[in-house]
């Protein structure tokens, strides 16, 4: 089976073709750099995504946050539920941890803006 993907690792968005046999990746074509090949393999075996969102702050505003590494794609909505429960104490700086090891994914949710 051939699966066609668009590489999302960089804005170039290379069109990838993945040759699959019983779920195993046999061959990848279309990538411009090695990160594209790795993306194709991951995407066909255990797709991962970075989440960017906002979290509430203790003064009732919102602060932008992200997962500091990718999390399993299927966990995105569960992670969002956790992020929306969090309350960030101000002041906060870029990189401050908001949630440690969210849902055991190994990723921390961190602030992506400075707020006083």
């Amino acid at each position: 089976m051939i699966r066609e993907l668009t590489c999302i690792v960089c804005p170039k968005g290379c069109p990838l073709k993945v040759e699959l046999e019983n779920g195993a990746v046999m061959n990848v074509t279309g990538f411009t750099c090695p990160r594209g090949k790795q993306y194709a393999i991951d995407e066909c075996t255990h797709p991962m995504r970075t989440i960017t969102s906002t979290a509430r702050t203790d003064n009732g505003e919102v602060i932008p946050v992200k997962t500091d590494r990718t999390v399993p794609k299927e966990s995105m909505f569960d992670c969002m539920t956790e992020i929306n429960k969090a309350v960030v104490r101000l002041p906060a700086r870029i990189g401050d941890t908001v949630i440690e090891n969210i849902l055991g994914t190994g990723a921390n949710v961190v602030a992506t803006a400075n707020m006083d």
């Binding site: 668009t6 968005g13 995504r49 960017t52 969102s53 992200k66 870029i94």
Partner: protein, 413 residues
């Protein structure tokens, strides 16, 4: 009147990067004027990632990217004024501005860099039949509500236009619990990046309806639904394909235009295609000493390229102030229509120049040719070009030194 060597209008990514480059090229008497309450411009509400891969080799969110430059502005002690609105720029570079502390004030500048960015096309410009209830927003306005104010405009969403902001908002609102029913794109292709179609629409099974548009808006006070339809090759809706979608929110992501009201006060000639100033390789406009960069000059796909262009403007403004110049030439750059525009539009100095251009349609197996009369001075093959992706080529000085004009053409096999 206050005398300042370099005044930069706008403290977004273009303005900050131009200021840093000018400082590093020796300009010490400079000032950034910013309308908003913070530096960073629109990046502050672009909380998604994908910025900076080109510039910093890592993937940053908008506020993180902005911070990289804010930090430099602070470390270099580059002065800036916030909440300051520029009212007028005269052709001899007197900048009139106002803020609540100083009232109206004037600055005589030696050079000015225009870095005001762009705005979204107004929804009023769209002639859709039906009512005008609450619930219709530009994608950027919705982005501001959700990301800066923490307020969701609605639960059931239809998006018209597949520009990147619309795609990003489709994902954003889906993650926050809304249902995005469709993204309708009038053209047979999307204007957004392929990666955004993949990660913002396909990841969430949001249908991208190409060659579709919204033909009618329903609802009295609040939006109740929209009627969409497929369009034919001449972009006219096909009646039999009309389909009603109930929704409480319609987002419009139908394009960006450079914000050039101020440039007009300085009599800066604009390019009808880009909506921005006509510039030379230094990003100097046709008004001497006034430079332009970033989205006020032409709409960029990536902020990384905005920073790069702003550096050119910053360095060039510094050279202008110092009175440095390369050997002069005068070469106008023309396009064939398949290539819609080039930036710069004119070459005035004999030094290597990178010319950016955008094409009018999706073309495959093309050759980009640059001609001096019938003489081809540059040629390069490309498997595919698309309006959503800016292209660039670099010309050596020998290729245009004796030319009066160069023609940029696209040969399609």
């Amino acid at each position: 009147m206050k005398q300042i060597d370099l005044v930069i209008i706008g403290g977004g990514p273009a303005g900050m990067s131009a200021a840093v480059a000018a400082y590093e090229s020796g300009v010490r008497n400079l000032l950034i004027l910013e309308r908003d309450a913070h530096l960073g411009g629109i990046l502050q509400q672009c909380i998604h990632n994908g910025f900076g891969l080109h510039r910093f080799g890592e993937e940053l969110t908008g506020p993180e990217y902005a911070w990289r430059y804010e930090k430099q502005v602070w470390e270099l002690n580059i002065p800036y004024m916030l909440n300051t609105m520029v009212l007028d720029i005269s052709p001899d570079k007197v900048v009139t501005a106002t803020n609540s502390e100083e009232g109206i004030f004037q600055i005589q500048a030696k050079a000015v860099i225009l870095a005001m960015g762009c705005r979204e096309r107004a929804k009023g410009a769209l002639n859709i039949a039906g009512t005008r209830p609450a619930g219709i927003y530009s994608a950027g306005t919705a982005q501001k509500y959700v990301n800066l104010k923490g307020y969701m405009p609605g639960k059931n969403v239809v998006i018209l236009g597949s520009g990147d902001i619309g795609l990003i908002m489709a994902r954003r609102m889906t993650l926050e619990g809304a249902k995005v029913h469709a993204v309708c794109e009038l053209m047979p292709y999307s204007g957004g990046l392929a990666r955004n179609i993949e990660q913002c629409l396909n990841d969430f099974n949001i249908p991208l309806k190409l060659s579709h548009t919204v033909v009618e808006i329903h609802g009295k006070e609040r939006l109740e639904g929209v009627t969409i339809a497929k369009v034919d090759e001449r972009r006219r809706p096909i009646a039999e394909t009309r389909e009603y979608i109930p929704c409480d929110t319609l987002l419009l992501s139908v394009g960006l235009i450079p914000e050039n009201e101020l440039s007009k006060t300085a009599s800066v000639p604009l390019d009808r295609v880009t909506g921005g100033a006509v510039v030379d390789q230094d990003r100097q406009t046709e008004v001497e000493g006034i430079f332009a960069c970033g989205n006020v000059l032409h709409v960029h796909d990536l902020v990384d390229y905005v920073s790069e262009e702003a550096e050119i403007a910053g360095k060039s403004a510094a050279a202008y102030i110092a009175g440095e110049n390369a050997e002069k030439v005068d070469v106008a750059l023309h396009t064939d229509g398949k290539i819609r525009y080039t930036v710069p539009q004119r070459i005035t100095q004999k030094k290597a120049v990178t010319v950016f251009f955008r094409v009018a349609d999706v073309y495959r197996n093309v050759t980009v040719k640059v001609k001096d009369g019938d003489n081809v001075v540059y040629s390069r093959k490309k498997p595919k070009v698309a309006p959503g992706e800016m292209e660039s080529i670099t010309l050596k000085p020998e290729t245009f030194a004796n030319a009066g004009a160069l023609s940029f053409e696209l040969e399609v096999q």
